[in-house]
Symmetry: C2
Subunit: 332 residues, 2 copies
């Protein structure tokens, strides 16, 4: 059985959609057991007689609008978020899923579970929308505003294991985001990282990848520092939103004409393609346990997909496989 800890109070629509998401996951996956952390009287009635769910009451909740989520994690020892992460630290669960505030999740990963021994940084790694017919990981998207080349190397190794074990890609191809394809382009960071990736036996390195190839490149993993990754990810979101508005306007132009129905169909499909709900959530790579950060606005379906993702990462044993690579390192 895969044991997962769930922060039942995190997310814009918590606990309602989290509860429904867990119910959905119970139906979808017969090999998962849940520890649900949250306000018991709100949660318990929904899981009466369910043997695969255990509810642990927490009096405290970290608010989605919390101005200082890191401070809240430090202080909120009885919050549903911190308690769920503590279950992973104490080996009561192999992974944790939360739709709570990103910074709170990153802080709890660092402060409660901690990094894998020898792993120098933790990264947030979402999956890009499947626009080009292929799923691609992008990291880091904001856990660290700056990274050094040796950090990027470790993150590339971790992402490669993840893509192999969870996404079923046999020999995942890693691309380094850069402002030109030729070696020697970019900043010192890109040049140093290029050199490290090229020579690492654990990484199948493609070379530099430009922003315009984001949805056409053969790469499965796109690597960059947290500042750049965040700008790139949110730019995708911005363009998608603008294109969505553009299509919506066109629909209005058609008014009640015949084309209206066709356009609506296309618009709906586009929205579904770009939606993070289809993917589940972002992974936290580098933590000594599986951590999935579901989108804050997750509905039940999206949250069940985040659970699916955590389940696959646990079954794929990605943390232990990364520990083996780090153990191989000569200077650890």
């Amino acid at each position: 059985m895969v044991k997962l800890a769930i922060d039942a109070m995190g997310g814009d629509h918590a606990p309602r959609e989290i509860i429904k998401g867990v119910q959905l996951a119970l139906a979808r996956f017969s090999d998962v057991e849940f520890l649900l952390f949250g306000v018991e009287k709100e949660i318990a009635p929904h899981f009466a007689g369910e043997e695969r769910v255990k509810i642990i009451h927490c009096s405290d909740v970290i608010d989605m609008g919390e101005q200082d989520p890191i401070g809240a994690v430090r202080k909120g020892k009885d919050s549903s978020l911190v308690r769920a992460f503590r279950a992973v630290r104490d080996k009561e669960a192999s992974g944790v899923v939360s739709a709570g505030p990103t910074q709170g999740v990153v802080a709890a990963a660092h402060l409660v579970i901690r990094r894998i021994r020898g792993m120098k940084r933790v990264a947030i790694c979402p999956t890009l929308p499947e626009l080009g017919g292929k799923r691609r990981l992008l990291l880091d998207v904001g856990a660290n505003t700056e990274l050094r080349s040796e950090h990027l190397l470790q993150l590339a190794q971790f992402a490669s294991i993840y893509a192999r074990e969870v996404m079923g890609v046999e020999n995942p191809l890693v691309g380094l985001l850069n402002i030109g394809t030729e070696p020697g382009k970019g900043r010192e960071l890109e040049n140093e990282t290029h050199e490290l990736l090229k020579n690492d036996p654990n990484v199948n390195f493609y070379g530099n990848v430009e922003g315009k190839e984001l949805f056409t490149t053969d790469c499965d993993i796109l690597l960059t520092d947290g500042f750049t990754g965040n700008m790139v990810l949110k730019t995708c979101e911005g363009v998608a939103r603008a294109v969505g508005n553009f299509l919506k306007e066109e629909i209005n132009t058609f008014g009640k004409k015949i084309g209206y129905l066709f356009m609506r169909k296309v618009f709906k499909k586009f929205k579904k393609t770009m939606s993070p709900d289809e993917i589940g959530g972002a992974n936290l790579f580098g933590v000594d346990g599986i951590v999935v950060k579901a989108h804050g606005s997750s509905d039940a379906y999206a949250f069940s997909n985040a659970i699916r993702q955590a389940r696959l990462a646990v079954l794929g044993d990605v943390v232990e496989k990364m520990k083996k690579i780090i153990g191989d390192g000569s200077d650890e």
Copy 2:
């Protein structure tokens, strides 16, 4: 009269589309005179009897695929690119337009015309596609992989003058690209720049702008270092391309149905909206003369728009206005 130097041999479709573009500009703008640099026998027949065009023969051409455009500029003293830039340096023309390789244009701007005295960096500044119904400048997109806060301040001042004089925006709003909207977000660069922009009398500072607001923000100018700007710009291109492919697929799905015609119309409009041809070209800010880099794939219409842009910048006297601000600086 506005005198512009034209690199007639630069661009994927040179000299044919450049010649046609100049012909188009002659018809569109009665107040512009041209110095055309290129292979005389290819150009002259197209401008017989045209008083507003002077052709200057150059034997050398910097190839679009040139591996070392900077070296080519240093060595290619008789290339059409270098000669056109020299015309601006020697005050024979007020501005230059080239569809040649970007790195060559940036190198010629630096080495031939040179920066405005006191201006510390030159930046490439294109206009974003008008997806959200508003034109916005983005800089730097790659002239400098790294910039310091004082460089970004000067570039914000220059862009503000440009937006006022050329785009007709009365009090242009400047946004700093960042990974969060609150002050204190981002790297040291963003924090220092935030402080400088906030206190500068020549800049109407909005604050931080995230990638997802790129096409919805009220800002007229979006400021960042050349690495980030290049990633953001090319990511827009990548998403647009992927969305274009998505729409194309939908069209194929509709086959010969009635919706097909509607979809085709929407697809064409989308392509036009995202096309750089509508805008003209990217500006080089900080050079002691007007430099417009037209898109390499420019056709006649796109090139005439790049000419339009150079004409407006000359008429707006943006370089002299920037010199006044730099003159005000206490430490220059």
